[in-house]
Amino acid sequence: MNSISEIAKKLLDENRVSAVVGYSIGSLPNKTKTVIVKSSQQAEKLIFNNLCVNNLAIYLTKSFRLTTQKPVAVVMKGCDVKSVTGLIQEKQIEREQVFIIGVKCNGVSEDGKNLSPKCYSCKLQTPKMYDILVGEEEEKNIEFKNPFSDVEEFEKKSLDERWNFWMNELEKCVKCYACRQVCPLCYCEKCIVDKTVPRWIEPHTSKSSNLSWHITRAFHLAGRCTGCGECERACHHNIPLSLLNKKMAKVVYDNFNYQAGLDDKAKSPLADFKFQDKEDFIR
């Protein structure tokens, strides 16, 4: 018996949660399917394996309306829990509204072959926060990478090279906004790109309007993005959004010694100020 499905069955039978969000066998060999299980009869389809790459924290955001009556249980890896921390910090959910079925994770894969890039700099095989924990931790045979190593490499390039790189990459964007839709921290009820009075960002695709969108998205996630990589995974044009997000994270880390998603009591640098701030505009 799979212990996740046993836990889910018990939670649903005891009426403690409205649903259990988890993974089941996918329709393709290299994918798992996200499922929202609402009855204990369906709980047996829940699984966990190295294809469970998705960050299910997205289902805790308000638009899914899963936490309105009772808590919702969610199967989560260490990296996914960071997004829950962010949602709690930002008062999107209360800790009591989510029952975290934490899984000990030994790395996940998007294609069934290669380890997901985010796993190389992961120190959270065991989630920092959970209500129940399942799985076995295996010894990791992965060489740990500094999470900012690719940003540091990229920063060595000249301004022109970096500009050309991004203009070339962003030109591919078709503005489907899948990057926004899959992001657990992009929970605004009305996104800036959808506002029409005034129109902040033009809806058509062009180099300049694509740049406006991507800069706005990245800025808005500075100090908030936990690096789950869902935006990049959802982008069917392979725009390296993680590189942009990591640059923001690095700026925040270098200036404020802060990393998103590690402490639900901490205040995020961009949501806080100090009277001693050296910039006087903020006082």
Binding site: V21, G26, S27, L28, P29, K31, T32, K33, T34, V35, I36, N54, I58, Y59, N168, E169, K172, V174, K175, C176, Y177, A178, Q181, V182, D194, R199, E202, P203, H204, T205, S206, E230, R233, A234, H236, H237, N238
Partner: protein, 345 residues
């Protein structure tokens, strides 16, 4: 219609096309993804054996993601309109799989339903479609369900196939295609006999996901506008719209005026029925206010409404929506929920 042998290799044939001053669009790796892109020289071309299919479809060359439809300026209270030029250079779109080539006969119907979209049709008329039979498939492909096969030439002007001796030949499907080949006499030679079928195509057809009975599927849809299944099938959807943006047949768009101080442009931009803004009224009312309603619309439009109106399915089984869905909503599996497989011998 005639068949033609490609005399030298495939690259030489493309060289011939380029020398005729056509803009050649074909599958090409750009920034790490395979998509239909402009071919500058024949060395860049991938032969039909070198890819399964592109990430995005060819629809952007006929119905671009964004397209100005009219420009305007103001002077005082007066508005002056200016037409928009549509690219005049003749194009060849080369190497489309049957699932993409077949999308044109579907899109042609909607773009001339009640009103003829001159932007779409100008591009259609200026473009020659050269399809290529599939030499491989993946787990997402399900073209046979929609009535196609790895070697269906439907929708193409010319079609590239391999004969049983592994040589490429061109099948002229339309007169437009035949006229193009006639300009390429240095590269092609008319075949007197019908080439022998390469057994590869039949083999691939058998590997593809089994055929679903879409007539039965439609019968179910006819009677199940209200059904709790819709909620169950769509609850995990993230409304990312990747399915519609990559689909060769999804054709919904939004019309937006982008206006500056004294001038502006009216644009057609792609839109998708899985977005909650798609049907949101200015009053705040949204007739499709849940994901279940939006997903039902997607499936109904593809397999019922389009069939009611045009006697066609708004899907060619290319599998792009399945490959791209971040939460593995699989339209083939969805339809299979309410329709049986076709019995095969």
């Amino acid at each position: 219609m005639k068949n033609f042998k490609i005399k030298n290799d495939y690259k030489n044939f493309v060289k011939g096309l380029l020398s005729l001053n056509y803009l050649v669009i074909a599958p090409k790796y750009e920034n790490g993804i395979l998509k239909f892109s402009k071919i500058k020289n024949a060395a860049e071309i991938l032969s039909p054996s070198e890819y399964i299919n592109t990430v995005s479809s060819t629809k952007e060359y006929f119905f671009p993601q964004t397209e100005p439809v009219i420009k305007f300026t103001f002077e005082g209270k007066e508005i002056f309109l200016k037409d928009v030029e549509i690219g005049k250079k003749p194009k060849v779109v080369l190497g489309l799989r049957p699932c993409d080539a077949a999308s044109f006969s579907i899109l042609d119907d909607i773009f001339q339903y009640e009103y003829k979209d001159e932007f779409y049709f100008t591009r259609r008329e200026k473009t020659i479609i050269i399809g290529a039979a599939c030499e491989s498939n993946d787990e997402s492909c399900f073209c046979t369900t929609t009535g196609l096969a790895p070697d269906s030439s439907q929708g193409a002007d010319l079609f590239i196939e391999k004969n049983n001796e592994e040589e490429y030949f061109l099948r002229a499907v339309t007169e437009k295609g035949e006229r193009l080949v006639e300009q390429l006499i240095a590269e092609v030679e008319e075949l007197e006999e019908e080439p022998k079928k390469n057994p590869l195509y039949e083999k691939i057809e058998k590997q593809i996901r089994k055929k679903i009975d879409l007539i039965e599927a439609k019968k179910w849809l006819d009677n199940n506008f209200e059904n709790e299944k819709w909620e169950e099938l769509s609850s995990q959807c993230l409304s990312c719209g990747s399915c519609a943006y990559l689909c060769p047949t999804c054709h919904c768009f939004d019309i937006v005026d982008e206006v500056n101080y004294n001038s502006g442009v009216r644009r057609k931009n792609w839109d998708a029925c899985q977005f909650d803004l798609f049907t949101l009224h200015s009053s705040g009312h949204n007739p499709r206010d849940t994901k279940a309603k939006r997903y039902r619309q997607r499936v109904m439009h593809k397999f019922k409404y389009y069939a009611d109106r045009f006697d066609k399915t708004l899907c060619t089984g290319c599998g792009r929506c399945i490959r791209a869905c971040p939460v593995n909503i699989d339209i083939y599996e969805v339809v299979k929920e309410f329709a049986p497989l076709v019995e095969q011998n």
